[in-house]
């Protein structure tokens, strides 16, 4: 099998693009896809400092690698989540990636704030993914604005976006559909722009890129993600993709072009300011502060019960 672009032996086959690529041409193709997304959606410029949320997985490290190669000013932000050995390995991979390339990296250890994901989920009996998402959103938003970054980039890929879209459509989540875009402009003084430069590339392409670039990422899956609904949606979409290559791309692209503007046109109440942390909130207190309070209360109760025993 030959590379579609240069006729050298191909290393990867992309059915949705009806193309085969050798290593050099795939890396070029992938980087161009990301570059086009950034330019077309006006995500950020070469002059703007970009805070890149990096987990240690293939997507976020591939994103960081591309942004560096394209010449953007990047700083990594890694949350050490407190999910046992998985988090330790994720932090190790992220730190090693940054150190090997002399890149600035901000690391926040949630356990240092008394908020290790597994502890919070256990105390509050909330689903771990829900607690984890609430804390990620808060720290990404807060650190970006406090450190003066105008934009946060995340490694969401086409599969993530397609699965999220499917979930939002299945439940007709109108406000979420209105906000599902590769660029989210700030609607509050303590929000910054949020962008998803990988929204045009598949999960497979991100993994291939990471492999070809020699990026040492965490291959293990988060233990808390087992049985996650998003994985079910991804599986359904991949079954569709198997019989009809390109379905995921069409699903997301056509939504963004045809449907999303209609949902976005509906009037939306602007966020208020959380009385606890000063970050944006729909209620008097934001979800993060409610989660922290509940965690602290239940921890105190548990400790008091232990003291009695």
């Amino acid at each position: 099998m030959k590379c579609t672009r240069c006729k050298a032996p191909a290393e990867v086959q992309l059915r949705q693009h009806n193309s085969n690529f050798c290593r050099a041409c795939f890396v070029f193709f992938f980087q161009r896809q990301v570059e086009r997304a950034i330019e077309k959606e006006r995500m950020f410029s070469l002059d703007e400092p970009v805070l890149v949320a990096v987990s240690g997985g293939k997507d976020s490290l591939a994103l960081w690698d591309v942004l560096i190669d394209l010449g953007y000013q990047t700083t990594g932000l890694h949350l050490s989540l407190g999910i046992g050995e998985y988090s330790d390995a994720s932090t190790d991979k992220t730190v090693a990636f940054a150190n090997a390339r002399s890149l600035p990296l901000i690391t926040v250890k949630l356990a240092d704030h008394g908020l290790a994901v597994n502890d919070v989920a256990g105390l509050t009996r909330r689903p771990a993914c829900s607690a984890c998402g609430t804390m990620k959103r808060h720290y990404f938003d807060q650190l970006a604005v406090d450190r003066g970054f105008p934009v946060v980039a995340t490694g969401h890929n086409l599969d993530d976006e397609a699965a999220r879209l499917l979930g939002n459509v299945l439940h007709w989540q109108m406000p979420y559909l209105a906000r599902q875009r590769p660029v989210l402009q700030p609607t509050h003084e303590r929000f910054v722009r949020k962008v998803k430069p990988l929204y045009r590339v598949t999960e497979y392409e991100a993994a291939v890129y990471a492999f070809m670039r020699g990026i040492d990422y965490v291959v293990d899956e988060c233990p808390n993600a087992i049985g996650a609904t998003q994985l079910t949606y991804k599986d359904m979409l991949n079954r569709l993709e198997a019989t009809s290559p390109g379905s995921k791309l069409i699903f997301v692209q056509e939504f963004l072009q045809r449907a999303q503007p209609i949902f976005a046109a509906a009037p939306e109440e602007p966020p208020r300011t959380c009385v606890g942390c000063g970050m944006p909130s729909f209620g008097e207190m934001c979800g993060f502060c409610r989660l922290v309070r509940e965690t602290e209360t239940k921890r105190e109760r548990r400790n008091a019960a232990k003291a009695v025993q």
Partner: protein, 102 residues
Amino acid sequence: MGVGSWSQGAPSPLVSAPATPVSSPSLMHVTILPQRKQVEIAGRRRAADVLRELGFLPGTAMVIRGDLLVPENSMLEADDVIEVRSVISGGAPALDVEGLAP
């Protein structure tokens, strides 16, 4: 999707599923990540067929031989040593950063 989730009617390619690496020269040796599971498959076949027989949908796993990827349409030899690495990850809404989820 996933190892062990055979599609209905698909013949099992597994000769054995030993807990430790095996050394038979006439069998394809497959390491599946992230499960770190090792299996043996008899006979040469396309990478796409190996993936299908292991229960992977197209585009959900990389086939790695040495330092190179193997395209899904390419043949794998009967005595190849390969790695099949899943590319699927998830757990949203944890991954979302839309900022104001209730």
